[in-house]
């Protein structure tokens, strides 16, 4: 693999046009024997506690990856992944390389257009965006933000416009791929989540800051007409997010003040909510897919759920470190006891043996009733304390809510939304890096930076070792839209995991 290119002004060691010249590929990658779909050798036979999860899990071979940049196309047919300055697009069904593009520099950001026809690669250090077409590999587009710099880039929902945020948030440049037109949006706010598109792609909300006041602008995405512009009653707007139905916009203040405002599509303030004063406030929010609930995670280690009729709190979920209720099942990850037969170990240890030594397999065990979870004492003298609800997500069927309390980092709480109470707690051996719901059913995938992927469904849960050689530390994961597979991403590798239900096979 080529080392990262220095940002020399004149040096252009990389060919200017990215195309699928196989001669330029590294031999190992070009000549990879890619059998249809998966190499069956890497199959983990997993017997689930219930057939509802999956009966067999297959793992693909491991592919190289950088910056954890790998994404399924919205139509689910392709998988794009970045290896330094190259963009590899694979067919999901065969995992064979479909297209290969070479960018001008190391890629920092990758995004599919909504119609799966184009891929955007942003190189922030150079202030460049390169766009590739899947249908016409020879088509190319390069956007240079010049001296203004680039810190963020994204597609508009129509897949024909690119929104580039310049350095210091001076402006957002809207580049069109259909016409020569370029438009600017001034005063975008530098915040946690400053842009939000409605799910149907019709409208965009943008957080702005002018004269030390927060504003929100609503744009019509089809022609970038400014639909509404209004001031928000916030000290320091931290983020905005549309409800999935695209009719309500939630805007929340920075963590210094617990405040959330709800605006209608026509800019009317529907409601404001504040749970308490003085101490640190909102950390993360999540809309339920039905737009019926708004879950707000805050620094006081609680999740509050607002309803969509009165916008008042329905309930609050505390995240205590001890769980006394025997009705709540606590699954504890434990290491499987390995019989280490020292005399059988070769010396010096082979690579495989060493990796198996370090990758001890784990399993979930049901912990008996009063369970105390491992807690992290947050440092009060440091900013951004590791406390409070930092991540929360609703299941696609609205029935469950998964949360993580950052000062109990190893645990994932799963709440029953129909009964509005705690359902299951999963405690792991390491801190939870990320979790994501299967887009098709109530099935949660969790990763903790170890070489296991964890799956939970109401039927039970399981810990699965990735049967890759060496240490495959899963840092993040993303589901395929069908829910049949997911991509497991480590620091520099990618592996696909296929979940097959018994009925399929």
């Amino acid at each position: 693999m080529r080392p990262p290119q220095p940002l020399g002004a004149g040096a252009h060691p990389v060919p200017p046009r990215g195309c699928q010249l196989l001669s330029q590929l590294q031999p190992e990658e070009a000549l990879l024997p890619l059998p249809s779909r998966v190499s069956r050798a890497l199959r983990a036979l997993v017997y689930w506690p219930a057939a509802a999860l999956a009966s067999v899990m297959n793992f693909s071979e491991v592919f190289k990856l950088s910056n954890q940049l790998s994404k399924f196309s919205p139509n689910g047919k392709f998988l794009a992944s970045c290896v330094q300055y190259r963009l590899v697009v694979r067919d999901v069904s065969t995992l064979q390389i479909f297209q290969l593009y070479t960018c001008l520099d190391q890629i920092h950001h990758l995004e599919w257009s909504a119609d799966s026809l184009f891929i955007l690669c942003a190189m922030y250090k150079r202030g460049l965006v390169q766009v590739w077409s899947l249908e016409q590999p020879e088509w190319h587009c390069k956007i240079d933000e010049g001296s203004a710099g680039l810190v963020a880039s994204c597609w508009s929902p129509d897949g024909r416009h690119i929104l580039n945020t310049t350095e210091f948030h001076l402006r957002i440049t809207v580049w069109s791929l259909c016409t020569k037109s370029v438009s600017y949006i001034k005063y975008p706010k530098a915040c946690q989540q400053g842009i939000s598109f409605t799910k149907d792609g019709r409208y965009m909300a943008l957080a702005e800051r002018r004269d030390c006041k927060d504003y929100i602008s609503l744009f019509v995405c089809s022609d970038w007409q400014l639909l509404r512009h209004f001031e928000t009653d916030t000290q320091d707007l931290a983020g905005i997010e549309w409800a999935p139905n695209g009719c309500v916009l939630a805007a929340w203040d920075s963590c210094l003040e617990y405040k959330i405002l709800l605006y209608s599509l026509d800019g009317r303030l529907l409601s404001t909510y504040s749970a308490y004063e003085w101490s640190l406030g909102i950390k993360a929010i999540a809309w339920s897919p039905s737009s019926q609930f708004l879950a707000i995670g805050s620094y006081d280690e609680k999740v509050r759920i607002l309803n969509h009729v009165t916008w008042k709190m329905i309930t609050e979920f505390g995240h205590p470190a001890t769980i006394n209720n025997p009705k709540i099942v606590v699954y504890k990850e434990t290491e499987k006891s390995q019989n280490l037969e020292m005399e059988n170990l070769p010396f010096p240890p082979t690579k495989a043996a060493a990796s198996s030594l370090f990758n001890t397999e784990t399993k979930y065990e049901v912990a008996s009733s009063p369970v105390s979870l491992q807690t992290l004492k947050p440092l009060t003298d440091r900013p951004n304390p590791k406390i409070g609800i930092g991540a929360l997500a609703f299941s696609p069927d609205n029935c469950f809510l998964a949360t993580r309390n950052d000062n109990i980092p190893n645990a994932v709480w799963i709440w029953d939304i129909q009964k509005l109470k705690l359902f299951v707690v999963l405690e792991h051996l390491s801190a939870v890096r990320s979790f994501q719901w299967d887009p098709q059913q109530a099935r949660l995938a969790v990763c903790t930076g170890r070489s296991q992927v964890y799956l939970w469904s109401p039927a039970g849960c399981v810990s699965v070792q990735v049967p890759a050689e060496g240490d495959f530390q899963i840092l993040s994961l993303c589901w395929h839209q069908s829910g049949d597979s997911m991509a497991l991403l480590s620091k520099d590798q990618l592996c696909l995991c296929y979940l097959e239900n018994e009925g399929v096979k």
Binding site: W139, H140, R171, Q225, G246
Partner: protein, 578 residues
């Protein structure tokens, strides 16, 4: 104070009057009493001092004690207790006046001290509460101060942030100008060819028309969302209404049959109550009623449900009371005995059945053996053929007999279980009867002494059963544990008692049947005969209830009272039937 008295004892009687007067005075003052009570335990020395005083002056050492006291008093600045000495050698006499003055002064001093002490104590209390108050105030102030500090820091922080932001904005503006005005050639898009729009249309010019269209579309989106939500809410509402209606229906159906029962028995039930209910049910029959969401209908519905709920609640409460009363009554022994008897009897019967089965089996085996024996010998079989046929016929006859016997046993067993069930029912009925009777008794005792008419009901039940007492032959009057028990329970207890004595199950069954027939008829008789007393008896609780529920709406309270009384009545009597 008693110690003072002990000191005064040796002093001559002429003085003691005065002294006792003082002591009584001091005794009378509550403060002194209090102080002594308080001081004595607090000071362990005080007791020893008292003891010392008690031993201080005796018949022998009067002189020494006087001189000692004199000395002590003079050192404290009191005048001497002795008369002015005229000669050195002469023994000085005790100056009574001086003694009295001294005592008086001491008493005054003591009282003063007590007063002062009291003052100090109250002051101490006052100060204590003041302190507490101040501490509270202090903590409150502290919190407030802290909040103020936070608030002031926040404002300062915000101010500084704003200042910095302004500077930052200026810089940004400047940078923007620089970046934009430099004619930044670098900022550009290098594209091979423009691509078509995703929807395949050409981009339209932005005009006022498109703006209006956008607005329209936005409102359309909003409108459709609101419509959808309204639909959802309507659906939810309808479902809730349905549930309410269902509940109401069920409540009415639950409450009305109990009302109608007494109507069958007694003709003169006030028509208004039932008509009210009938009206309600008639309303319910209008299927589309709940489609109207106007206020009146809603009110009606909620009101009627509330009404029914109240009735149900009071009814349940009453039932609870009954149950608790039943539990209070000493019932357990009887229950245990009956159960034991029952078990014994079933065991016995099972044993009998088992024996019979065995017998049948042996018979069968014998038959089989004979069969096989005959089959062995082929030559003799021909000879024995006719004999066998005869034998077979005989055996078949026997077999049928056995079957019949078995059937009989089964029947007996079944009938016994039936009897046991009936027994249980009867016992339950009796418990309820008893509860009702006790309640009546209680009511009689408390408020309705003049109206003894209620007694008619339990008495009648009792008298109805008294005939049967004579009918049951195996009864042992000595075992009657409960003298208050009415007919059914007496029957039950007698029945259970008679069980172990009974020689066979069939006999037992017959007696049970006999008794049950008797009991049913007797209860029916009672029901027919005792209409008049019942009527009076029913009115009494009704009156009571209406008084209790007057605070509620007049209508609801009235109907509720009626139904309550009725249900009460129907339980007491209706369940007595087997």
């Amino acid at each position: 104070m008693g110690d003072w008295k002990t000191i005064t004892v040796p002093i001559p009687s002429s003085e003691s009057k005065n002294i006792s007067q003082f002591t009584s005075e001091t005794n009378m003052s509550p403060s002194s009493l209090y102080s002594q009570q308080v001081l004595c335990p607090s000071l362990p020395l005080a007791k020893s001092v008292h003891n010392f005083f008690r031993a201080f002056c005796t018949e022998e050492n009067v002189d020494q004690s006087i001189s000692y006291l004199d000395q002590e008093l003079t050192t404290l600045g009191f005048p001497s207790l002795y008369e002015e000495s005229k000669g050195k050698e002469v023994k000085r006499d005790l100056n009574i006046v001086a003694v009295l003055n001294c005592i008086q002064e001491l008493l005054v001093l003591h009282r003063k001290n007590l007063l002062a002490q009291e003052n100090v104590e109250t002051q101490n209390l006052k100060l204590g509460s003041d302190m507490e108050h101040l501490q509270n105030c202090y903590s409150k102030l502290k919190v407030q101060k802290l909040q103020n500090i936070i608030a002031s820091r926040a404002t300062q922080y915000n101010h500084d942030m704003k200042r910095k932001e302004r500077e930052y904005n200026k810089l940004k503006e400047r940078l923007h100008q620089l970046v934009m005005n430099k004619k930044d050639k670098k900022a550009a898009m290098d594209i091979l060819n423009y691509v078509g729009r995703a929807d395949g249309k050409r981009g339209a010019w932005r005009t006022g028309k498109t703006e209006a269209r956008n607005e329209d579309e936005m409102y359309k989106v909003l409108l459709s969302d609101y419509e959808q939500r309204q639909k959802q809410i309507l659906l939810e509402n309808a479902e809730l209404k349905k549930v309410l209606q269902q509940m109401k229906k069920e409540m009415i159906s639950l409450l009305t049959p109990q009302k109608q029962k007494p109507k069958e028995k007694t003709e003169d039930i006030p028509g208004t109550v039932l008509s009210d209910v009938e009206e309600d049910t008639a309303e319910l029959s209008k299927e589309n009623m709940w489609e109207l969401s106007c206020e009146t209908v809603r009110e009606q519905l909620t009101n009627s449900i509330r009404k029914q709920w109240r009735i149900l609640k009071s009814h349940v409460e009453k039932l609870d009371n009954q149950v608790s009363k039943v539990h209070l009554g000493g019932f357990k022994d009887e229950e245990v005995i009956s159960r034991q008897d029952h078990e014994q009897e079933t065991e016995k019967l099972e044993l009998e059945i088992q024996q019979c089965k065995e017998m049948i089996q042996t018979q069968q085996q014998l038959l089989q053996q004979q069969f096989t024996a005959t089959c062995d010998d082929d030559t003799s079989s021909l000879l024995q053929d006719c004999y066998l046929l005869e034998e077979k016929e005989r055996l078949e006859e026997e077999w049928a007999l056995f079957k019949e016997q078995k059937k009989n046993f089964e029947k007996e067993r079944r009938s016994f279980t039936e009897a046991a069930i009936r027994l249980g029912l009867e016992r339950k009925a009796f418990e309820e009867d008893r509860a009702g009777w006790l309640k009546q008794q209680f009511l009689n005792m408390t408020s309705f002494d003049s109206k003894n008419s209620e007694n008619g009901k339990p008495q009648s039940a009792f008298s109805g059963s008294s005939d049967q007492d004579n009918l049951t032959l195996h009864s042992k009057p000595g075992q009657k544990s409960c003298s208050v028990s009415s007919g059914s329970s007496v029957r039950a207890s007698k029945l259970t008692k008679s069980l172990p004595v009974s020689p066979s199950a069939s006999e037992l069954f017959q007696t049970i049947r006999h008794m049950s027939e008797n009991s049913s008829s007797s209860v029916l008789n009672v029901a027919v005969e005792d209409t008049k007393p019942n009527q009076v008896g029913r009115e009494c609780p009704a009156q009571k209830w209406s008084v209790a529920s007057r605070s509620d709406s007049q209508e609801g309270g009235c109907s509720g009272s009626r139904s309550l009384a009725c249900t009460d009545w129907s339980i007491e009597h209706g369940d007595g039937l087997p």
